[in-house]
């Protein structure tokens, strides 16, 4: 094959005038016109007004040591003592204290699996095997109940592991469901089309809170006496059903953007509906909608904080509960700041990942 790859390398010349120094860069990008200059100065002024006090509060005047609220009595800045004392509760909620290493490892495993799945390089059989091993391992660590780990019921789960589980399972399961709904809405079969459309429109018409509420309060009413379904599972199903409807509309946008000729070429070659959908249509249309898909993922991650209303202790709720203690109450800002930093870490990573994936897949030729 190497002989075929051979093409003659043309002499590569740098385009003229590319060597721009910092001064030239500033002039071109920051001070190119009077309005531009004014905007630059305004931005600098705002940064000067905002950044130093913020850094001062967060770091320079903040208290990092101590083990009680007294340590922060005279503090001008943030009281990170709170996090030092309460972080176990914030991160793991009411999970049995001595067993909290388990959700820690389980969450790390789940996050590793998710991150690993993000790299196109790893897509293949080995990844499937990793999930097949990783998920039961995750379940065993979280629940336990055999092989030496004491059982921890799901109503004790809480904090960051709960948020990550709800979001990860929500995203991973709702995505294929959303793709199916999107395909269904464009199906040639009227029955499938009607059902998909009705589902999507119905779910999109109600807020997530009411879906969760219905899943938690109304759904059990329809179950026969004595049958109960785990609250966490109900919330999870609610999130999946809700997210799938939104994913479906995003995916449908991608399907519509694909030129008709692509469908026709697949058909003309004798590919079946599912073959052309999986090999031709989805790879291209999903690539087109990566930014909106990831946008949806980020929303889902943050939406999990709504499970509070059906009595689950997600990460935001545990952080808030941590300052319910009157002695710590004055430091509620710190708890929110901590939650914000953690949420930002997750959401920003997803956003960066979206850009990485777009670049990576965009490297393949486009028409």
């Amino acid at each position: 094959m190497s002989a075929m790859d051979h093409t003659e390398e043309p002499v590569v010349l740098a385009p003229p005038g590319l060597q721009i120094g910092p001064v030239a860069w500033c002039r071109k990008n920051l001070f190119s016109s009077i309005p531009n200059t004014l905007l630059t100065l305004l931005a600098l002024f705002l940064l000067w007004k905002l950044i130093p006090p913020l850094l001062d509060w967060l770091l320079f005047s903040a208290v990092f040591s101590g083990s009680s609220p007294d340590a922060c009595k005279d503090a001008v800045g943030a009281c990170w003592t709170l996090i030092g004392v309460k972080h176990r509760f914030m991160l793991f909620g009411f999970y049995t204290y001595d067993e909290q290493w388990r959700p820690l490892i389980a969450t790390v495993i789940l996050l590793c699996l998710i991150c690993g799945s993000g790299y196109p390089k790893f897509w293949g059989k080995k990844l499937g095997v990793a999930w097949l091993i990783g998920l039961p391992l995750f379940g065993w660590l979280m629940w336990g109940g055999f092989w030496g780990l004491p059982l921890v019921e799901t109503d004790k789960w809480g904090g960051l592991p709960l948020t990550v589980v709800l979001a990860a399972v929500g995203i991973v399961v709702s995505f294929p469901l959303g793709v199916l709904l999107a395909l269904g809405r464009r199906s040639a079969l009227p029955a499938i089309r009607t059902v998909s459309t009705a589902y999507i429109e119905l779910i999109r018409g109600v807020p997530l809170i009411s879906v969760l509420f219905m899943a938690s309060v109304m759904f059990p009413l329809f179950l026969p006496e004595g049958v109960t379904i785990n609250k966490l599972l109900r919330a999870q199903v609610g999130i999946i059903l809700f997210t799938a409807a939104y994913q479906a509309e995003t995916v449908r946008g991608g399907l519509q953007a694909l030129p008709k000729g692509q469908y026709e070429a697949g058909n003309a070659l004798g590919l079946s509906y599912w073959q052309s959908t999986l090999l031709i249509v989805l790879p291209q249309s999903l690539k087109l909608v990566i930014p909106s898909l990831v946008n949806q993922f980020i929303s889902t991650f943050k939406d999990t904080s709504l499970v509070l209303i059906i009595g689950l202790y997600d990460f935001l709720t545990t952080t808030r509960t941590a300052v319910a203690d009157p002695a710590w109450q004055p430091f509620y800002v710190e708890s929110y700041a901590f939650a914000a930093i953690v949420y930002f870490g997750f959401c920003f990573s997803m956003s960066r990942y979206s850009q990485f994936l777009e670049r990576r897949l965009g490297a393949q030729g486009r028409r």
Binding site: D5, N267, L271, Q364
Partner: protein, 254 residues
Amino acid sequence: MTNAALATSSEPIISFEDVNKWYGQYHALRNINLGIGHGEKVVLLGPSGSGKSTLIRCVNRLEEHQAGRIIVDGTELKGDVKAIERIRRDVGMVFQSFNLFPHLTILDNLTLAPRWVKKMPKKEAEDLAMMYLERVRIPEQARKYPAQLSGGQQQRVAIARSLCMKPKIMLFDEPTSALDPEMVKEVLDVMIELAHEGMTMMCVTHEMAFARAVADRAIFMAEGSIIEIDTPDELFSNPKSERTKQFLGQILGH
């Protein structure tokens, strides 16, 4: 309309019997009767909107006809999805806009259908693909993506992609009209070779020289009907119908 000498002798591989098609209220194909023999090459020409594309797209059911019968290689085109997929395997199609799969390399474009539709092993499919790429004279582009090729090269890849399924019939819908003039010849040359190898071909084109060189019959269409069928030489130099004369006058520029 057809004289005896022009009618196909053997059992036709494609036959249209009183085919009619409507787009909504618009009557796009009107009473089409046509038989195309094994190994025969026909070109279709006619003004824009006359139904040429519609006619050849009915052969592999990219369009559905509403009345009459279309029989391809012994199978009538009806609702049966499996039968349609089977026919499509034997009928290659080349589009005006190439329609290569932009997310796949040239080689993957070519091996996709053999591997998934015919379940051919990867290695075998790649050897086959390279053979056809050599026949269309661009084996060195195998690892590139469609966007990195010129229009003429892309269209040759599209032809090779269809040939990889070893079709019995090839349909061409204005294969050279989206190309810059200097690339038209490289595509036509490939098509001429294919014709000489005995492929059954239906080709919508206004390339007169090509039609004269390879076509057994030329079909002139207007307003959804077949107006005139004759050998290309006869049709071009000695058209019988007024409508044909007028059209030829326009495209020949006098």
